[in-house]
């Protein structure tokens, strides 16, 4: 069992990983990444994966990650807007959750104040039911919802989050008033999952990755996914194919601070674009069930504006804004 080389390399590599100062690539820039969430969550993982891929591709010499967590990113955003202003080598990771949090928390700052660089990834959502459920298709689910929404309790993440928003959008398309919905928020996908496995609720909505293994094991039935087109290896229609005209990605992207120069902005877009098109990035996305949905610069700015309007409308219907 003793393998000296493996022992030495893995130990050395482990300690090397604790230091963020590789000696190679002297001319590559240093960047700073601001994560408006605590370590460990989706944005933090995105930041650390960006750092990892940029360094392995030798596009940067190193990076420093700062976490300021709280309230869906609305605690960190004012700091990024005010204290990081004009820092051309900085990026903030944010996403759809922050759009919702800004609206729901009536935050003083919003995403129009920062400089859009690129939308990177999205996680599509899944509508699932317990294996024993009478609902065989998404149409069955919508029919039951139309009949009496109070009899169809649906589990998902926190109130006003992406899962709740998708449920609101589905109900709206079906003509069911959002105020009558019976949504049961859980602190995270895991807790919602246990409510589904214990047959406590009629259906569940969360990121596909939260449910994928239970679907494979046959404990949950996947009715539909919220992506724009069918996904390879997933045997389920999109919501649109199932007759529900809704598409939703829980997207994540990066922003530069306000007041950066045009050259810095262009350089940053190029850096992020090169990274997003690398094989290393593709591998990471595959491992983490992220769909790469790259969109940069002005197109990204327009997308953020449109999404803010859509989310604002649905949160109003749900009584959260």
């Amino acid at each position: 069992m003793l393998n000296r080389r493996r022992f030495l390399t893995s130990t050395a590599a482990g300690f090397a990983a604790l230091h963020f100062a590789p000696a190679f690539a002297q001319d590559a820039p240093q960047i700073q990444i601001f994560v408006p969430a605590a370590p460990g969550g989706g944005w933090d993982q995105t930041a650390r994966t960006i750092d990892q891929v940029l360094r392995s591709e030798k596009l940067i010499s190193g990076s420093q990650i700062t976490n300021v967590g709280g309230a869906g990113g609305t605690v960190g955003l004012p700091q990024f807007v005010n204290q990081w202003k004009g820092k051309g080598n900085s990026l903030m990771v944010a996403g759809m959750v922050m759009v919702g949090a800004i609206i729901a928390n009536k935050s003083a700052n919003n995403l129009t104040e920062v400089t859009p660089i690129a939308r990177l990834t999205g996680e599509f959502e899944a509508l699932v039911v317990p294996a024993a459920s009478p609902f065989k298709t998404a149409a069955d689910f919508v029919a039951a919802l139309k009949e009496d929404p109070t009899k169809v309790p649906v589990a998902g993440g926190s109130a006003g989050g992406s899962d709740h928003i998708l449920f609101g959008l589905i109900a709206k398309t079906a003509g069911v008033p959002a105020a009558n919905l019976s949504y049961v928020p859980f602190a995270g996908g895991g807790e919602a999952l246990s409510a589904l496995l214990g047959n406590q609720v009629a259906a569940g909505i969360s990121g596909y990755g939260e449910f994928s293994e239970q679907i494979k094991a046959g404990a949950l039935r996947l009715l539909a996914i919220s992506s724009d087109k069918r996904q390879e290896g997933i045997d389920a229609p999109t919501l649109k194919e199932a007759g529900i005209d809704v598409e939703l990605f829980n997207w994540r992207g990066v922003f530069a601070p306000p007041g950066v120069s045009d050259e810095d902005k262009a350089a940053m877009i190029k850096l992020v674009e090169t990274m997003a098109k690398s094989d290393a990035w593709a591998t990471e996305c595959k491992n983490r069930n992220w769909t790469s949905i790259l969109l940069t610069g002005d197109d990204y700015a327009k997308f953020v504006a449109d999404d803010t309007a859509r989310i604002g409308a649905i949160l109003k219907d749900l009584g959260l804004a």
Binding site: M1, F7, A17, N105, S158, G190, L193
Partner: protein, 507 residues
């Protein structure tokens, strides 16, 4: 292969020199971060996630599991010696442990918590290896209605820690409810008691409240007394470790604590705090030395909760490994580490990743052994802390509490809250209000509220769910017995002893 075969295979994986080294690094690091208030295992593992890019999956999970178990050991040290809980699961330990330290039995308190942690951690890990499929079935049967009934039962049993005056105890409990409600309401997304401050939207961390009320409040109280320091250096009494009598009083609480902690830890919304409350209440009820509780410190009140929190740490791994369900912040981050390796944790994990899972389970046994070896000799060193004269010691505690709190989220707001709570803790101490019920209210209150509202949402407003579900009904019945049982018993006793006096009038 059967379970034993898998386990033997797991030990073969864990016993490679590399993996043993990772286990040692993990347990040492875990003990250290457990000692610091604020820096918990979840945050530490999150910060170490990048190593998953570099080392084999077995190695990193062995490291993470070592950190997780180590934190449970380390958290009790500061609770006992400095009344400053390092982890939310060791808040209860401070109640009796710190009293023991002040009456010269700090070494025994540390020893019973280390050995109890070892016993319960080993039993819990055996539970993970052999009982996981059964326990997980039981845990999934718990829905919102059952959780609410469990909270009712917990409220009844923890009345034991309310102290001598129930009015004061209940006042403290309700203060805890209010603090627990601060932040965005999970059910509706609306902020409560935040006064428009963004920093309060996520609520107040229970560690800040515990450190503020216990450590800062205590420090201010000590400073306010005129003769502070004169009588504070307590000489160690008797053996550094445990006496025979203390062993005899500890072993049953260890076993009971493990029996309470493991199943509750395995429940998706169980956590590590509730079993420590329940264990404390039970030990207080069963103890033959009830007069020591809250005065000189009862060793049962340390042994039971410490065993319970370690067994619950093992319990948390059950749904994580069998179903891919993370039931604590630490487990959630460990699951995200699985994804770095392209492994999707789920019901198939035990079969598809047998090497990894059984290597992990085997390393937990090893981690437990390393931790007890690491912690017992340290006791001699730790108790010397108590020989520091009071002014210096309390100044040190204040610095330690402040740095630790700042470490939670680098937020100056947290420090303001810490000192406001410290002032509140001082006033409570001055006017004789117990502080422990604040913490209990803060943890149990919001849980009970959330589960109640979830149960009502799912049942569409039908109250009968709480007694239509057999499990829920059982828990409520137990709570009812706990509430009226002692009174009925006392009444019967009363009748029996006073019986003869009434006889003449009856005829």
């Amino acid at each position: 292969m059967d379970t034993l075969g898998y386990l033997a295979h797991g030990f073969a994986v864990a016993f490679t020199p590399t993996n043993l080294l990772w286990c040692l690094v993990g347990t040492t690091l875990g003990t250290a971060i457990g000692v610091l208030p604020g820096l918990g295992p979840a945050l530490t593992i999150a910060l170490l996630l990048p190593i998953t890019y570099q080392v084999a999956p077995e190695a990193s999970f062995i490291l993470f599991a070592g950190i997780y178990y180590g934190a449970m050991y380390g958290g009790s040290t500061t609770s006992i010696l400095l009344n400053t809980p390092g982890e939310s699961a060791t808040i209860v330990t401070a109640l009796e442990g710190n009293r023991m330290a002040r009456s010269g039995r700090g070494g025994a308190a540390l020893a019973t918590s280390a050995i109890g942690s070892f016993v319960a951690g080993t039993l819990g890990t055996l539970g993970v290896a052999f009982l996981a499929p059964i326990v997980v079935k039981f845990a999934l049967a718990f829905g919102p209605a059952e959780y609410f009934s469990l909270m009712v039962l917990a409220f009844i049993t923890v009345s034991a820690v309310l102290g001598s005056s129930s009015v004061r105890g209940l006042t403290s409990l309700f203060v805890g409810f209010v603090i627990g409600m601060i932040g965005v309401d999970l059910q509706t997304g609306q902020p409560r008691f935040t006064f428009g401050m963004g920093e309060l939207l996520d609520g107040v961390d229970v560690i800040i409240v515990a450190v503020g009320l216990f450590a800062v409040g205590e420090t201010l109280y000590m400073a306010s007394r005129r003769y502070a320091g004169k009588d504070e250096i307590v000489p160690l009494k008797g053996s550094l470790y445990m006496t025979a009598a203390e062993w005899a009083r500890s072993w049953k609480p260890w076993l009971r604590g493990a029996a309470i902690g493991f199943p509750i830890g395995a429940m998706p919304a169980g956590g590590a705090e509730i079993p420590t409350f329940l264990s404390y209440a039970i030990e207080k009820k069963l103890s033959k030395h009830r007069e020591e509780f809250g005065t000189v410190g009862a060793i049962e009140g340390v042994a039971g909760p410490e065993a319970a929190n370690n067994a619950s740490a093992a319990g948390v791994l059950v749904p994580m490994l069998t179903l891919g369900l993370p039931t604590s912040a630490t487990a959630a981050i460990m699951l995200s580490a699985f994804q770095s390796y392209g492994i999707n944790p789920g019901p198939l994990l035990l079969t598809t990743q047998a090497n990894l899972v059984w290597g992990l389970i085997a390393s937990l046994f090893i981690a437990n052994v390393i931790l007890v070896i690491l912690n017992l000799p340290l006791i001699g060193l730790w108790v010397r802390l108590l020989k520091i004269p009071a002014p210096q010691l309390y100044a040190g505690i204040l610095v330690f509490a402040t740095v630790g709190t700042y470490g939670i989220s680098q937020s100056p707001t947290d420090l303001v809250i810490l000192y406001l709570l410290g002032a509140a803790g001082f006033l409570m101490r001055r006017f004789d209000f117990p502080t422990a019920p604040v913490i209990i209210g803060m943890i149990l209150g919001p849980l009970a509220e959330t589960q109640f509202r979830r149960a009502m949402t799912i049942a569409n407003g039908d109250w009968t769910v709480f007694y239509r579900h057999p499990l829920s009904l059982t828990l409520l019945t137990l709570a009812f017995i706990g509430l009226v049982g002692p009174h009925i018993w006392a009444w019967i006793e009363h009748r029996r002893t006073r019986g003869p006096e009434h006889v003449p009038g009856d005829a």
